[in-house]
Subunit: 257 residues, 6 copies
């Protein structure tokens, strides 16, 4: 059950409303990496989760993101309100003025309606957590960009708060993933095929017009890695990849936790 308290989690103060910036803020309200996406991804993972401690974590953070959604929506609304004047409205975004009368809607900064296609809810706890770490990293960088494009002190304070919390959440999800105590390369139950897993395919070769080159890094020069050069050109073809014992014995083990 949910309860709503009218006070915002962060006091929103706006000096001079800036409808153009209000439109940018919608990116974190109804955009792909915004607060609604975070709130729903974690809360739905929480409904599916069978690890009681992680379920609690997911519901804690999912609920906090709902409070953030309210903060960013209130902030965007304050910036968009002056769009009642036709000229401003047209400059920013006709849909906001014509279709929504200057109110916020679940759209991103280019007017795309929010869609659940943005969410990653794969139903395997260790994979869910990796998705959440990536989601928090995306949200952090988006807030940083918004701060860089904003001159209003009160708005920047609110954005700094919201940005800070993404790091708090990213760390919590990293701690939860570590806390599972799993081999970081073991996803699910079926092991990868031994030799093939250690082959690095060098599928992009030559020198590009802007100086792109065929380079090395830990991924193709580390211990135990075999580099297969230009497999397509060598018509390198693999067969019989399933070792006899690779199949999991219980069907369906890899379901949500």
């Amino acid at each position: 059950m949910y309860h709503h308290i009218k006070k915002l989690m962060f006091t929103v103060r706006v000096g001079a409303p800036d409808p153009r910036f209000g439109n940018m803020l919608l990116e974190q309200f109804g955009g792909a990496n915004g607060e609604l996406a975070a709130a729903l991804q974690y809360s739905i993972q929480g409904i599916n989760c069978e690890d009681m401690a992680c379920k609690d974590l997911l519901m804690d953070i999912g609920t906090e993101e709902l409070s953030h959604l309210e903060v960013i929506g209130t902030l965007a609304r304050m910036h968009l309100k002056p769009m009642k004047k036709a000229a401003d409205a047209a400059e920013c975004d006709p849909l906001i003025a014509i279709a929504g009368g200057g109110g916020v809607a679940l759209r991103d900064s280019q007017g795309n309606a929010w869609t659940a296609d943005y969410l990653k809810v794969p139903g395997e706890l260790s994979v869910d957590l990796r998705n959440n770490i990536a989601a928090e990293a995306r949200a952090k960088i988006t807030y940083e960009r918004l701060i860089n494009y904003c001159d209003d002190r009160g708005t920047r304070e609110a954005l700094q708060f919201l940005m800070t919390r993404e790091i708090t959440h990213m760390r919590a999800f990293m701690q939860a993933l570590d806390g599972l105590g799993q081999d970081p390369l073991a996803i699910g139950l079926i092991p990868p095929t031994p030799e093939i897993v250690d082959q690095y395919f060098n599928d992009s070769t030559g020198t590009g017009d802007q100086g792109e080159e065929d380079l090395t890094g830990p991924w193709n020069s580390g211990d135990g890695i075999t580099v297969v050069d230009s497999p397509a050109l060598r018509e390198y073809q693999i067969t019989h990849a399933t070792p006899k014992s690779a199949r999991t014995t219980e069907r369906g083990r890899t379901q949500p936790n």
Copy 2:
């Protein structure tokens, strides 16, 4: 700010899980007229609303719908869980098993991802409320159909509760609309053009193969209504529809309240 209490608003008890019915239940979880759509439509209208009493109403009901989302999601999850067995999974819906491992996702009963295109947030209070009345009516009939297709007692009890609350909300929105004290035909500020507003165009005529006919009802036979027969065929064309005084004097009055 939001707070979450782990107890559900309605105790969910499921006798025999039925994955096929679990799939149907998703219609009210991530479907066009489901609980997420209701929660977000009202809460976002609430953020935009400047009538303090109606804002409170919108936040009250928006928050209750979040609690309903949790109930229907938990119920669907209970029915879908046995989909761990391959055969059942394939029968119901491969995506639920393959992509989500038997967990719930924000999809409708045919697997379409939820989209904010479902929402109606026009930013004019009296119009918002009409949308909410219509939304509650849709949700009510959807729950009724689910009840009619369900044999499990615990599931039906939960659905009956959720269905009941839609009527509670529909009445509240109707009372709020009445409470505005507006002429039910006056939307916004610019009045319709007097004579033209009273003309009923009979654009569909003749007799159909299944007995369809050109019939009368209060809409084309009431006092003050002029019927224009087959305007296209008579090349009935209108000009000069704007009376001089029709324009609102303040630009942008018709913004959110």
Copy 3:
């Protein structure tokens, strides 16, 4: 069967074409609450409808909206045509110039493609009509906003005509709903659970930063209403909501009429 007459329902005259306003007009051509949405929502409800008089009504208005779609499309095309010059095109909207060569397309003012997700076709006559009332109210307020942002006399006349007809249609749908003679709170056949339907849940409390408060209105202070304060915080939980007799006896009664 349909027949098309080349004369428009309203004579469109444009003084100085304004591509930026042409782009705004697309909101009523290919937008969520525009003429295509209206034409298709009513016509498809008409195909499904089994009440012969209402079927006639739905086809009459559905067909009129097709004529409106033609008027608004022609009007938008006139305003967009000068976009042949590169500078203007870029200013308004690259897609219109680059992808469509200055012609109209089924997109809204932000370039989103029209989708049937906008439609509400629930298949129960009294619910269909409520959706249509809400749809007409949305269309009316959208036309009013367009009029407020428009200085061209001929364009404003056309918009005034189209806006007027939305009120005509809204009234017709209201009369049809009244004409069904149903209790306005009775949707479908299964009655709500008696006591629960009269409880108002106060789920949003406290005082907000902008003066939001916990207020009363007819919805939480009328006769027969019981207010349940902060149900989540009280862990107020409901069980056994289905009275034994609540289930409809005939399955499937709540289908389209």
Copy 4:
């Protein structure tokens, strides 16, 4: 302006309703290549078209497709109606029963909502017509597949009629394209770069597992064609592709006709 006559363009008779086939029929009602897509693609091209004869053609066929939409919708509705019984409903498609009460909606046979992304309205007459030829070919083959999967005589008669008309329309669009008297390879005004236009790049080579080979056809063995073998592997790179005179002198000539 449009007028609607209640009689259908083709008398629809259904022997034994088959909900599963009704669901398949939705492909031509609200699917990517169905009657709505055809009606709207041609009618919107018609609004944009400046060649008066072709505009008439586009409006004639666009209007006929609206009548087809009504026929296929009525036919699908007849087959879906028995879905009032729960068992049948679940078997076919829950959304149709749960969300729409057994009525038709603008969705395809897999439940995807219709979207204007299906339309091709490029705004250059000769390109519009090529799109329409392709669209009619797609519609024809889809009707043929439906006929092959249908045993009901009345349904097959209706589908045969609709399928026949697609060939009528395809021929009309082919005649209109020929009637423009243009070089079939000249699209727009800017000519292609002479030598480069005659080079055929052989980008896929070798022998595949299922016997795929590097073969010849008129496209890589005709007069005047130069085959460039494996350009990527030879790092074949092109520069200076614009002959000085290639730019059109008038900007924006390539707008809709």
Copy 5:
């Protein structure tokens, strides 16, 4: 198998980066008729194709389009890069700066995410080829418009190259269609109903406000064509359209080749 060579198929040189034009270029990167759509439409048709020579053709051109995608993406990236400065970013498109940091994404010039709804993969070779001819014509005219709006020499050279190749491909698909040796009106196996196929329905009549008229062209005045005037108004209704022998004898012949 695919191999990537870092050198671009066309050397991209940009004088003064123009973020606004970079945004327009996205139309051919992630737009409805852009290079990704072409690459995937042909390659997927290639996977399905059973005519070995046409399969080779489809893979050749599908692969070349991947190289074009890389060229247009690199070109757009060069134009968008200066968007690091806030002012420029806001002017062009907030999403590109806020959500993507000035990088390219699979979106069109209005920010719509690319969708496979753009593709036409009907699974019948002669229909596939007609779709490809239409797709190349759309891509050609789009490149021509981009060239007309561009002043940078290096950019125009790259666009001229890409535009030229669309004509090369259009001709190749036309040659392949001719090479099938089929009657151009015969799609699939079931023949159209003889008399009905030769009737032209004149469904749009009268004189329009802008001089639109009921005109003739080869489509309604050629040999063997019967014009049916205003069929709706005459309640012209057809029955029994399936000649006894029309059904194909083998089910499912009309599958992909």
Copy 6:
């Protein structure tokens, strides 16, 4: 530039084709976490990337995923081919038979068209890599589920190969992220606000119906973490979150690398 070799990267052998399983396989062809999503996410990040070594890595793996797309598409096509018979087609999925003639299309296992909304291309290298790690984990678990639902030996071998490669890629992206030598909590340049970053908000409390509890884990019990209990209920509100020095000095540093 790309080159295609007709030999597949893995020899595909199918014993008894199973159309129902072919439909499931589409999840990895045109689904949210399938091979197209992987190929495009990495290749587009590669176009944007300014770190030359990571650009090479992204192009290597992006290209390999194109080869995987071809393998999974060929495998799905083999399983779907028998759908030429009507009965089988109807059982699996009408769209595949009716709209595509038994060929593969860019749709997931529930028929949803692929969309670029699935992609995560945030334009900051360390965030891109986190997204890729998560993407590979999702792909791995999806292949594992497909293997668990499959009995055909040749199909399972191919899936085992593709699954193995996801682990290879996940490790490579993890090594690349480590190789950046960044503090794992430092995303971008602006630091989080010191005290606030260490507060854990306990927003979900109480005991649930299924035994859910308020539990501890490393995220709310570690060193340096302050737990804030039920912040909403305590009306815990934060202000002045931006330390003076928090703003990055160069605007736009957080662009793609």
